[in-house]
Amino acid sequence: MTDTISGDSFTEDGIAESEATPRVRRRMSPIVPAQNVVGRALVSVIAIMTFLSCLTLGAVTLVRDTATVWESQISREATIQIKPQDGMDMEAALESASLIARGFPGITGARIVDREATSRLLEPWLGSGLNIDELPVPRLIVVTINEDYPPNFQRLREAIVAEVPQASLDDHRTWVDRLVTMARTTVAIGMAALVLMLAATILSVVFATRGAMAGNGHIIEVLHFVGAEGRFIAREFRRHFLATGMKGAAAGGVAAILVFLVVSFWSARNLATPEADQATALFGNFAIGLSGYGGVALIVLLIGALTAATSHVTVVTYLTDIENRQTDAG
């Protein structure tokens, strides 16, 4: 431009400026200004909402995994119970039933719960030093099932009862069904909570981003009037808000992972204490596993992308508004 300009430089006091102005090299400031108060609030909102979403996701993952473990553990075993009867040889009956079970397809093993173990089982109710031969106590055989090829329980029941009429087979079906229903309900409630949490996160992020964008209207307008193309303006804002969103989301995600790691560490350290045993029995070892970490990463990416997309839509809407203002006049 200025190769055609001639004559004195223009100054307020009318004196030509010195040509020897020192050239200061510095990086160009970003077109969208760096963090201000609104921007920092946006990062905080995103971080908090991501943290809560990731916690919810982790909790749902935990409940789902635990429910699966409950299901598989309880359905891995069945119990043969033999009730005592006058004149029967309990040991022989146990052996016989155990043999039938072992030879049945789909059964991987059968273990007779011996006298000592049976006494221990009854100890909480009947006290120690119990002689179970003096009492008509039913005896148990724990049958291990091949989970991939489970046996036909009805046939097994018939085969055992034919040989030992006092025997009954409990395949835990009632328990398993109840547990499956409970587990599925818990997971469904968790998923519903997760969906609500994600919806709340999305709405908060959208509104917080729009709030942060509101202070940038004059920048969009100036860029528009100096001849910037809509896609250039949208790209600048998208880039800025993607970085902002990712910063907040990563902070929230990392905080959530830290919570899980700390709780998992605490549970491992206190393995022998009753509190930890209780918690471990309910929730396993608090490890959310690879799918949990993958989910957290996905939420972080989703929220970053959502922030960028919201700023993009806001810029496009703003530019359309500028155009419409023109049309209003017409």
Binding site: F10, V226, A329
Partner: protein
């Protein structure tokens, strides 16, 4: 002393371009209100110099906005660089805007960018590398007397400095036409005279200039075309 803009150059240019912007029976109303501009027919010839004047509220800013394509007329025909305004698409608009420099009454400088970055903004938004325009921007800033204020943020500039930064931003892309809305509205008379000199110099270098002002004193300093808006109508005194 009355200064004459470069009329000879304008005559020569007319042979190449008859006009940069042309209005034919243009009318404008906001919403359902009364027409604030009526039957405007005029041309802005290449390399010409004109004042746009009239009482406050006469529609000077609205007319400038029509010239700058930030408003569409209610009726009539506007052609810009030979292209019908109504046929200019959203995609073409930025390219046409780059040929029109605008100095807003309120400067519209971005407070988080330095004077240098504000002036370089039109080039930056075109995706040009800073190294390709750095010396041009620095030279222009020196020319408008802001060489020492290059890396200062607008909030610490005086009114006159902001005005000159806004003018420099409008000129950096060597526009074919420069529109200035009350460019001397915020400065004292001596500075107003010097800003006027700057516009005249730009005009000598080939840019058509339209200055919207109600400062009669300023207009009396230059023997130039006057476009007077009154009651929504335009009278032109060549």
């Amino acid at each position: 002393m009355v200064i004459r803009p470069d009329g000879g150059a304008a005559e020569a240019a007319k042979k190449v371009f008859q006009h940069l912007i042309r209005f034919e029976n243009v009318g404008l109303r906001y919403g359902m209100g009364a027409e604030i501009l009526r039957d405007l027919s005029f041309e802005i010839p290449a390399r010409s110099f004109q004042f746009l004047s009239g009482p406050s509220g006469a529609g000077k800013t609205s007319l400038l906005r029509l010239l700058f394509l930030s408003l569409k007329p209610t009726r009539g025909l506007i052609s810009v660089f030979g292209k019908d305004r109504s046929r200019i698409t959203r995609r073409e608009l930025p390219h046409i805007r780059r040929r029109i420099g605008v100095v807003f009454q309120d400067f519209r400088l971005l407070d988080h960018l330095t004077t240098y970055e504000n002036v370089a903004l039109p080039l930056r938004v075109r995706g040009r590398e800073e190294s390709s325009y750095r010396s041009d921007v620095e030279e222009l800033l020196k020319w408008v007397g802001l060489g020492e204020r290059m890396h200062v943020l607008p909030p610490v500039l005086s009114g006159g400095e902001k005005q000159r930064a806004a003018i420099a931003r409008a000129l950096i892309e060597q526009p074919e036409i420069l529109l200035a809305d009350e460019p001397t509205g915020n400065v004292d008379p001596p500075l107003a005279r010097r800003l006027l000199r700057l516009f005249i110099e730009m005009n000598r270098l080939g840019t058509a200039v339209v200055i919207a002002t109600h400062d009669l004193g300023l207009m009396e300093q230059v023997d130039a075309r006057r476009m007077i808006l009154s009651g929504g109508r335009l009278d032109i005194y060549d």
